[in-house]
Structures are given as structure tokens and as C-alpha cells.
């Protein structure tokens, strides 16, 4: 008995710890590519892609694309709000020249502070400034207006206007509007248009990735787990206040090279809630390489190749990468190979050497090596073009989670080279890649704001991301609206959101999330209709929403459907179907054992004792049970209380047993009896 509670805790913490490394790797994505997706047969002579003069041929398809590699994040994502949220980062200040720039940035900073404080007047001012900038043709301002009209913040909710503004902003080069437009097209199954936009966006995203290894995945974090805040995950993102980080810093200061590398890594990517700081990263890496830490050498090579916080210097980059590779760090070979392909930092391009290096990496299970080899075979760089082999390599890389491999696959699906043309698949893969572009910093800023209890700003940023199509942001924004209600600082069409606006917005966000595979979202929509939260109680709609969730294998939805069949709410009264749904719920989620057992018992009672008093008794449970449940949750399960209760129970047992022993011993004191073993 006593052992149960601590083992629970140990099991729980082990579970959480084991899930942590998962969060660092790419989300497992199982690619289902069947044989018929692969294009059979030899490449015909009039295949446009083999013709070197044809625009689609290898040369133009330069994936080792260098055009955007030189650009900073600010250039890649014009009009990004980095200036407001990361004022320390080295951004080119020359942009502040024009009047529109000044108007735009002033508007954005006012808007974000208005979002935090809920100051309607300030927000109105901000929108005025943005409109002025938009009238001058500033694309980023037009994009923001598109956002405001699309969600109905400070302006009427008008999809036509939103579309128009986004269109013009996208034409003007604004990436975020392109994301918004592409997502709209996907939702409406307009794949030809969507795929074109996503292809460009993915290209930009890919060029911002690392050249030698995959960027540790900076995926947007989900704030909530079901209906509750995801406290364990959020605890890890406290940045510099996080205890673990402080321990790490201490170790690094003491000379632990591994710790130095880790800290450098955190600052370089802006992980764990820290602000991206290339200067700090550089200094930590330099310290680490003095101790001979190979991974830092590799990253130094990367830094010099990108010119991130230092002056770009390819020969130095090559030096560092070579040093790293000599220390058995095989992923560095990827970087070296890349430099040889482009001819940077070396006398001239050397494809054979590059291939050698990639093979070295691939032979040592470095996913990047597979990917790079795949690209070489795909384009016939330094080797004879072999699309089939290229496919094999790239698929292997994709299954290991390499985002650049997704990009190549998407391209193949898009153009129909090596794989059968499939625009839907291409769009989906491009979207995955595009969502890792520089605009994904929005999620970091939103999380930062949320952790500082600035819920309004977090909501604002997540709403923006939701517009761009990020499912996690959609569910985060919807969850904030539901959980915080008025405190979410939601901005409506004329000032603060009224209840209906808030519910409508949350509903639309949940629905979008459910379209993208979030089965919990459909469940919540069902709950809203079932309990009449924010909308009139409607059991039939609730049932339809639960059906939708059920088709995505949500066990709770199945349980609810069973319940509704049992009581004839919104669905016909049918005990057989109720039992079937309960069984299905248990099948899909073994944690449902207790509620399902109770439900099946109640079904059995209803069936066999239909006319007895038991039926109204169990009918009254729905009111009683949740109250008991919340009581149990809040009182009994509270850590302190549970421990006290357990101890109390043990004390009682011990006292009781002693009492029993005494009572047994006393009456037989006169007789000689063998000692009674208390059982």
C-alpha cells in the first residue's frame, strides 16, 4: 500500500524523462509511399528534366541553393516582428529609413503592448498607423491588416478583405501572407495554387537550415494537454531562470566542455526559452573548442559559413569542420562535402571529394549523409544521374526525420520526377517544411510571453500563427480563449471581445485544428454543444462532432457517444450501440478502464433491471459523480493531502491490528495457545 504512491511518482517521472529526448527529435512522421508512387521505367529521351537547356533541369534545381543562404533571417522574412521581440539581435538597422517602416514598426509595437494590456484606445491608434503604412503600399502592413480583417479584431470580420490584403502583401514579397494564403487554398482543396506558394516558402525555409546536421527541432510547443495546462513541458522553458539551465551554466563555468557546448547550442537556436544570441553562442563554443569538444567545432564551422555573429569566412569554416571530423564527428563530413560542392573555402569545386565525404557520413549512420547523397544522385552532380537510387536515399533520410529530405520528396511529388505526380502529397510535405521557416520564431515569442503571464500577447501571437496554418498555434489560441475567458484580452470587432465573439473564434480555431488532425479539438466542439458552453445546447450537433472525433480515434468521444446512446440524447436510445462504443473506447485507451467498467455496469443494470429503483439511482450519478471526481482530484490527489491521507490510513491500520491482537490475546491469556500470526 505504502509503496504504491512513490512508485507511481517514479514511474511518472521516468515516463516524462523518456519523453523529453523525443521532443528534441523531429516528430515521427511515417511516410507511406507505395510502389505505385514510384515512377517505373527508364527516363524517356524527351523527358524535359534530362534536357540541360530545359528550365526544370538539374542546374536550375540547385538545392544546395546559395542565393538565400547569405541572407539573414530578417531579409528572408521581411516585416517580421523580430525587432520588437528580439531587440538585441544583430539586425540591419538601415531598414528604418523610410517613413512607412517607422509607421509600421511603431504600429506593431503599440499593437503588441495593447494586446498585453487590453488597451482598446492604444490598439485603435496602432491600427491607424498600420493602415497609413498600408496605404503607402507597405506589404508587411497589408499583411497585418489581412490578419485583423480575417479574425475580426478592431475591424469587421470580412474574409474578402482579408484575402485581398494578403494577396497584395504576398505579391509585395511578404512571406507570412504567402503562408496565410497557401493555408487558405489548402483548406479549400485548391492544390494547384497552394503547392506553388508552399514550394517557394519551403525553399526559403530550407535555406535557413543548418548545412551539416538537422536543426534541433524548434517545434511550436503545445500549451495544454487535453484541457489542462501542460505544466511539465512548460517548466522546461523558463530560460535563464530554469534550475536545470543554471546547473548547466555552473558546470560550464567550471570547465565542463559538454556543458559549454550545450549552452552555446541553446543560445544559438534560442532553445529552452532563451533568447537567440549569436554572440554568446560564439563565445561559449570558442571556450568549448579549447577543450577539444568536437561538436562545438562543427558548429563553429557552421557559424563561419553563415556569418552568424561573425564575418563570413569559408576557409575558417572548412578548418573547423575538418578538425571536428578528425575527432570522429561524422556529421561534420556533411558540412565539408557541402563546401566542396559549392567551391567555398577551397580552390575549386570538387565533386568527387564531396561524394567521398557524404559517403563517410552515410556509412556512419549520419542521416545528413544519406540526404546529401540522394541530392547528388538526383541532380547528377559528380555522379551519373540515378533517380531511383536518389529516391531510396532521400526516403531513408525522410524516415529518419530529416526536414530537407521532406523538401526533396515534396519537389519530386510536385514535378513528378522519380515519384508519381501528387499535388496533395506535395503540398502536405512542403507545408511541413515551410512551417519551420524563420517565421516560426513567433512561437518562441508567444511561449515567452505566456510564461511571463502575458496571456494577451501570447493569444495575439498564437492567433497570428494560427492564421498561417500552424495546428499547434490554433489549438493553443483556442485553449487560451476557453481557459482564460475575459482575461485573455481578446480583441473583438469594436473593442473587447463579447462572449459570443470569443466563443465563435474559439470554435473556428478548434475546427481548423481538428481538420488538421487534432482529434481533441473535435471533442471540445462536441463538449461545447453538449454542455451549452457559449452556444445553445444542441445534442445532435454534439453527436456529429463526437462522430468526427471518433473517426480520428479519440477514445473520450467514443465514450461520450456510448453515453448518449444509453440515455437517448441526440442519438437514438440503443443499448447495443452504447455497449459497442464503450468497448471501442476501452480498446483505444486502456486508461479508460475504470469509467468504462462503471458505464458497462450501469448498462447492465439498465438492461436487466429496467423497471426497478436502480435505474433512477444511476441516472442521478451524472450530477453526483463529477462533484465527487473534482473533490477527489482537488482534495485527495493533492500531493500533500494524499501523503497525509496515506500515512493516516496506515496509522489506522496499525492501531486496528494492534487492538485486534490485544483482544485475541486477553481472553485466551489463561490457555496455552500457539502465537497467533496476525494476518
Amino acid at each position: 500500500m505504502r509503496l504504491q504512491y512513490p512508485t507511481c511518482k517514479i514511474a511518472l517521472s521516468l515516463l516524462i524523462l523518456s519523453l523529453y529526448p523525443l521532443s528534441l527529435t523531429a516528430r515521427p512522421f511515417v511516410l507511406v509511399i507505395s510502389q505505385d508512387d514510384l515512377k517505373e521505367g527508364p527516363i524517356s529521351p524527351d523527358d524535359p528534366t534530362t534536357d540541360p537547356t530545359h528550365p526544370d533541369s538539374a542546374a536550375e534545381w540547385d538545392e544546395f541553393g546559395d542565393s538565400d543562404f547569405h541572407k539573414s533571417d530578417e531579409e528572408l522574412d521581411p516585416g517580421s516582428w523580430r525587432r520588437i521581440f528580439e531587440p538585441n539581435s544583430t539586425s540591419t538597422a538601415s531598414e528604418l529609413g523610410t517613413e512607412s517602416d517607422a509607421l509600421y514598426y511603431s504600429g506593431i509595437s503599440k499593437m503588441t503592448s495593447a494586446a498585453s494590456s487590453g488597451d482598446v484606445r492604444l490598439m485603435e491608434e496602432a491600427v491607424g498607423e498600420i493602415e497609413a503604412a498600408a496605404e503607402a503600399g507597405y506589404p508587411a502592413a497589408q499583411s497585418v491588416l489581412g490578419f485583423l480583417y480575417g479574425t475580426g479584431q478592431m475591424r469587421e470580420r470580412n474574409k474578402a478583405k482579408a484575402f485581398l490584403y494578403h494577396h497584395f502583401a504576398a505579391e509585395g514579397g511578404n512571406m507570412q501572407s504567402k503562408m496565410a494564403l497557401a493555408y487558405t487554398y489548402v483548406r479549400q482543396d485548391m492544390f494547384e495554387k497552394a503547392v506553388k506558394l508552399y514550394a517557394k516558402l519551403a525553399e526559403v525555409a530550407v535555406n535557413s537550415f543548418l548545412i551539416s546536421k538537422d536543426s534541433p527541432v524548434i517545434e511550436p510547443i503545445r500549451l495544454h494537454n487535453g484541457a489542462e495546462e501542460n505544466k511539465d513541458v512548460l517548466r522546461k522553458f523558463r530560460g535563464e531562470e530554469d534550475e536545470d539551465f543554471q546547473i548547466l551554466e555552473y558546470q560550464a563555468q567550471k570547465g565542463n566542455a559538454g556543458a559549454m557546448y550545450k549552452i552555446g547550442l541553446f543560445y544559438y537556436f534560442g532553445l529552452r526559452g532563451l533568447r537567440r544570441d549569436h554572440a554568446k553562442a560564439l563565445s561559449w563554443f570558442l571556450k568549448a573548442v579549447e577543450k577539444g569538444e568536437p561538436r562545438s567545432m562543427e558548429l563553429l564551422g557552421e557559424i563561419y559559413a553563415r556569418g552568424a555573429g561573425v564575418e563570413r569566412n569559408y576557409s575558417k569554416a572548412l578548418e573547423w569542420l575538418t578538425l571536428a571530423s578528425k575527432q570522429q564527428l561524422y556529421s561534420a563530413y556533411n558540412g565539408m562535402g557541402y563546401l566542396y560542392v559549392k567551391g567555398y573555402g577551397v580552390e575549386k569545386k570538387n565533386y568527387t571529394k564531396a561524394k567521398e565525404y557524404f559517403e563517410k557520413a552515410a556509412d556512419n549512420e549520419e542521416v545528413g549523409g544519406h540526404y546529401n547523397l540522394g541530392v547528388m544522385y538526383l541532380k547528377g552532380i559528380g555522379v551519373k544521374r540515378d533517380v531511383k537510387l536518389a529516391c531510396k536515399y532521400i526516403i531513408a533520410a525522410a524516415n529518419a526525420g530529416q526536414p530537407k529530405a521532406f523538401y526533396q520528396l515534396a519537389k519530386m511529388f510536385h514535378t513528378g520526377v522519380g515519384l508519381k505526380k501528387n499535388l496533395a502529397m506535395a503540398t502536405a510535405l512542403y507545408k511541413l517544411v515551410a512551417e519551420r521557416g524563420p517565421w516560426s520564431s513567433l512561437s518562441r515569442w508567444a511561449l515567452e510571453s505566456y510564461l511571463k503571464n502575458d496571456v494577451g500577447k501570447a493569444l495575439f501571437l498564437y492567433s497570428r500563427m494560427a492564421e498561417l496554418g500552424y495546428e499547434v498555434a490554433q489549438s493553443n489560441a483556442a485553449w487560451i480563449l476557453d481557459k482564460y475567458e475575459e482575461h485573455s484580452m481578446c480583441m473583438g470587432e469594436s473593442g473587447f471581445c463579447v462572449d459570443t465573439e470569443r466563443h465563435q473564434r474559439a470554435h473556428s480555431l478548434w475546427w481548423q485544428a481538428s481538420e488538421q488532425g487534432n482529434e481533441h479539438a473535435a471533442l471540445l466542439i462536441g463538449d461545447a454543444y453538449y454542455y451549452g458552453r457559449g452556444t445553445a445546447r444542441d445534442y445532435e450537433r454534439a453527436a456529429e462532432a463526437y462522430m468526427h472525433a471518433k473517426s480520428q480515434s479519440n477514445a473520450q468521444a467514443m465514450f461520450n457517444l456510448g453515453y448518449m446512446h444509453e440515455h437517448g440524447e441526440g442519438l437514438p436510445y440503443d443499448l447495443h450501440l452504447a455497449k459497442r462504443y464503450y468497448d471501442e473506447a476501452l480498446e483505444h485507451d486502456s486508461a479508460a478502464k475504470l469509467p468504462v467498467t462503471l458505464a458497462l455496469t450501469s448498462l447492465w443494470i439498465r438492461k436487466n433491471y429496467a423497471d426497478s429503483f436502480l435505474v433512477p439511482l444511476i441516472d442521478s450519478f451524472p450530477e453526483v459523480y463529477p462533484k465527487v471526481e473534482t473533490w477527489v482530484e482537488n482534495v485527495l490527489l493533492e500531493e500533500g493531502n494524499a501523503t497525509i491521507l496515506t500515512l493516516f490510513a496506515c496509522l489506522l491500520t496499525v492501531l486496528y491490528l494492534r487492538e485486534r491482537q490485544r483482544r485475541h490475546v486477553a481472553p485466551v491469556a489463561g490457555e496455552a495457545q500457539p502465537p497467533i500470526v496476525p494476518h
Binding site: 507511481c8 507511406v32 503600399g137 474578402a160 509585395g172 483548406r187 450537433r541 456529429e544 473517426s551
Partner: protein, 274 residues
């Protein structure tokens, strides 16, 4: 006695376990019974050069949109009827709509529009079972193994009388509530298929309501559900139904935003236009 003390603790630990981090499984996107296509209107922008501009209606809203390079456009928004909730909703009673539309020439009933499905069969696989639907004939539930029929149930046969009886009480068109919004609903035309294999749970023959809805791009079975034990609902998508007035609401409307190129020296006039 010890057991009695153990029991609440067991119950507590059960609930503890149910709070363990649930595995968030995000399966590949599945359709669901309402399909994926958003029902929101689609927009398309058409640009008109200076010499052949678009002529707007009287009260069409417009806005001046400048491009990055300085070129300005005057864009007109399509007129959309808005109800108070902000979504286009047809408030009229269905029956009055039918009366009005009957006055128009060349109107086809849903059954006539469905004639394109005649003699066609559709098949859909849902895990273990496959469902084969032959229009105006039979609906079967099959299990195939290596292309051989291993198990078969008939879920219903086309029953004209039942359909007539059903339509007597209701109009040709029934609606199904759509959870996407509190006003949205999906319209369908129903056929009754009865007299299937006897169901051992209810001791009655299986029956199915086949629902035809308007949806692109082609005719196919979109879902099958069990309404109550051995009573099924099969939804069939049929693009030809979209020609009917009342079903047209299902199809997302496509609006065109027209933009006229403005001369370089265009001065904004603040009256009448936003």
C-alpha cells in the same frame, strides 16, 4: 478489513494513472463525415487593365489597394448577404422555397438529378468490411480476402414504397445538423433500403437510409454510420445534385473580387469610397 482500506487507495491510484501523460496521437488526417473542404467562400481576384475596367454596381464596397511598386488598384468586393451572425444563412422556410422554385422552368427533382447514378455501383472499404452500393438495387456489407467473398450481409434493398411513405411526411429534402457552426446544416435527399439480412440483436431485417448530398468532385460513398442497432445511414456524394437550388448551399461559393488598375496620378477621393 484490510481490503476495505485498500479499495479506496486502489481507486485513487487508478485515477492517478489516468492522468499519466496521454500519448498524443495525431494520425494522418482523416476525412470525417463532413469532409475536409471548408464551407467558407472561395475568393478569386481578377485584375482589369485601365482601358477595360470593371463597372461596379451601385452599392458595391470598394477599397484602394496600392502595390509595392506604387501602382494602385481600386478593388470592388462582391455582395454577400449577411445575417446577424455574420454567416450567409437562408432564413426562408424550405417549403416556401420549393413553391417559389417550382415556378421556374426546367427544374428537376432530386430523383431526376440522381438518374446519372443509374446502374452504377460504388464500393468503399472501412477496415475489415467493404460496402458495395448499387443505385436503386442493393447495399451489401462484405468481407473480402484475396478478392474472394468470405462474408456477406445485405443491408437493404431499394424499396419504393418505403420512400414514398417517408416523403409523404417530409419534403424531398431533409437536413442534418453540421457542427461546424450553430447555423450550418447539411441537406440531403433520402432513399430507404429495407429488407436486408435479419439482425440477430433486434430480430428484424437490416435497413439503411441512403443519403445523397451535393459535393464535388465525383460521385462516391463518403461515409457509413450506424444510427441504431442494424439501422444504417450511407452517405453518397453526387455532384449533379448541386444543380438543384436548395442543395447549392452546400457548395462553397466562389466570389470574384474585381480590381481596376488606376492611373499613376490617381488622387484619392474620400467621398463614397472607403
Amino acid at each position: 478489513m484490510r481490503l476495505l482500506l485498500l479499495l479506496p487507495l486502489i481507486l485513487i491510484s487508478y485515477s492517478l494513472f489516468s492522468h499519466v501523460l496521454a500519448d498524443q496521437i495525431f494520425p494522418a488526417h482523416l476525412g470525417g463525415s463532413f469532409g475536409r473542404s471548408s464551407r467558407e467562400p472561395k475568393f478569386n481576384i481578377e485584375f482589369h487593365p485601365e482601358d477595360s475596367p470593371f463597372h461596379p454596381d451601385e452599392d458595391q464596397e470598394s477599397v484602394v489597394m496600392p502595390q509595392k511598386n506604387g501602382q494602385k488598384f481600386l478593388c470592388f468586393f462582391p455582395k454577400v448577404e449577411k445575417a446577424k451572425s455574420g454567416m450567409p444563412v437562408i432564413q426562408q422556410n424550405t417549403s416556401s422555397m420549393i413553391v417559389e422554385t417550382e415556378k421556374r422552368v426546367k427544374l428537376k427533382t432530386p430523383d431526376e438529378l440522381l438518374e446519372v447514378l443509374k446502374d452504377r455501383c460504388f464500393i468503399r472499404q472501412e477496415g475489415w468490411w467493404s460496402y458495395e452500393f448499387c443505385y436503386q438495387k442493393k447495399l451489401r456489407q462484405l468481407h473480402l480476402e484475396d478478392d474472394k467473398l468470405v462474408q456477406e450481409f445485405v443491408l437493404g434493398e431499394y424499396d419504393e414504397e418505403a420512400i414514398a411513405a417517408y416523403n409523404q411526411n417530409r419534403s424531398d429534402i431533409s437536413t442534418l445538423k453540421d457542427p461546424r457552426s450553430k447555423d450550418a446544416s447539411q441537406r440531403y435527399h433520402a432513399h430507404q433500403y429495407t429488407n436486408g439480412t435479419i439482425c440477430d440483436l433486434t430480430n428484424m431485417p437490416r435497413e439503411t437510409e441512403v443519403r445523397f448530398v451535393c459535393s464535388e468532385p465525383r460521385a462516391m460513398i463518403s461515409s457509413i454510420t450506424e444510427l441504431s442497432t442494424c439501422k444504417y445511414a450511407l452517405t453518397v456524394q453526387c455532384p449533379t445534385l448541386c444543380k438543384h437550388q436548395l442543395f447549392q448551399e452546400e457548395r462553397p461559393v466562389s466570389h470574384i473580387i474585381n480590381c481596376n488598375a488606376l492611373p499613376k496620378d490617381y488622387k484619392e477621393t474620400r467621398e463614397g469610397e472607403e
